[in-house]
Symmetry: C2
Subunit: 151 residues, 2 copies
C-alpha cells in the first residue's frame, strides 16, 4: 500500500497520520504552536524546502488544521493560522516533546515548562477524565480492539 493512500484506512491513528503524518508536518505544527504564521518563518524554522513546505501547508489547510488568511491586500500577503482543530494538537505535541526529553539521549536544553495556573515547573501527565487518576498502558482496556488495518 502506498503511504498516500493511508487516508483510506479506517483507524483513528491512520486517519491522524493521513493529516499530520508526512515528514516536516509535525515541525510545522511545533512552530505554529510557538506563534509562527508566515511562510518564510516556517521555512527558516523547519528548514524544509520551499516546495515541500508549500505542499504541507496546503495539506494542513485542506484538512482544517490551519487556515490561510490574507492580512494585507497591497501587496497581497497571507499568513497561516492554527484552527481550533490545529490547536487541539497541542497536547499531542507536548506529550511527544516530553517523551523526547525524558526517554531520548539528551541533545537539547530542558524545555522549562511552567503551569501558569499553579506557577510550578511540571511534567505533563495523562489522566482519566472520569476519576482523575493517572492512566498507564496497563490500566486501559478497549471495548472493541481491531489490530487489522481494514476494520
Amino acid at each position: 500500500m502506498r503511504w498516500s493512500e493511508i487516508e483510506t484506512v479506517p483507524c483513528p491513528v491512520a486517519q491522524a497520520m493521513a493529516v499530520i503524518g508526512d515528514s516536516w508536518t509535525v515541525l510545522i505544527l511545533r512552530d505554529a504552536l510557538r506563534g509562527a504564521t508566515k511562510f518564510d518563518e516556517f521555512q527558516t524554522a523547519t528548514r524544509a524546502s520551499r516546495a515541500t513546505l508549500s505542499e504541507r501547508l496546503s495539506h494542513l489547510v485542506e484538512h482544517g488544521v490551519m487556515e490561510k488568511v490574507q492580512y494585507e491586500a497591497h501587496p497581497p500577503r497571507h499568513e497561516y493560522r492554527l484552527t481550533p482543530r490545529g490547536r487541539a494538537l497541542q497536547p499531542v505535541l507536548m506529550m511527544l516533546s516530553h517523551w523526547s526529553e525524558t526517554h531520548l539521549p539528551v541533545k537539547t536544553r530542558s524545555t522549562g515548562r511552567r503551569h501558569t495556573t499553579c506557577g510550578h515547573k511540571f511534567s505533563p501527565m495523562v489522566t482519566c477524565s472520569e476519576c482523575g487518576e493517572a492512566v498507564t498502558p496497563e490500566t486501559v482496556s478497549y471495548d472493541r480492539t481491531r489490530i487489522d488495518a481494514k476494520g
Copy 2:
C-alpha cells in the same frame, strides 16, 4: 535540509521525529502497543512494503524503541518487542488517537477506551504533575523558548 538530517537539530520535537517521524513508523508502534511482535504481523496490519517495514523496524531497534529477540533457534525466528522507551510512547499515541476521534471527520468506530482502575469509559486528559489540574495551551509557559532550529 534533508529529512534524514533531522537528527542533528537540537530540539526535543525534532529529536522525537528523528526516531519515530518516518512514514509507517507510528502505525508500527500502534500495532506493537496492541501486542504485535512478528514481522508478518506488522506487515499485514500496517500494509507497508516489506522493504520499508524492515528498514523501519531496524531504525526503531537502533534507537532503543524496540528490541529484536530470538524466540526460537531452529529455525531461527525473531520477534520485535517494545522496550520501556517504546512503551513510554503509549500516552503520545493515546492523545493522537483521541485527537483523531474528537477532531477529525469520523471514518472509524469509537475506540471505547476504558480505565480499569475506575471502570469507566474515559477521555485522556493532560494534567499538571504538580497541581493535578488540566493543562491547556493557554496555561503553559516556557522558561526559555527557541523558535529557530539551530538552538
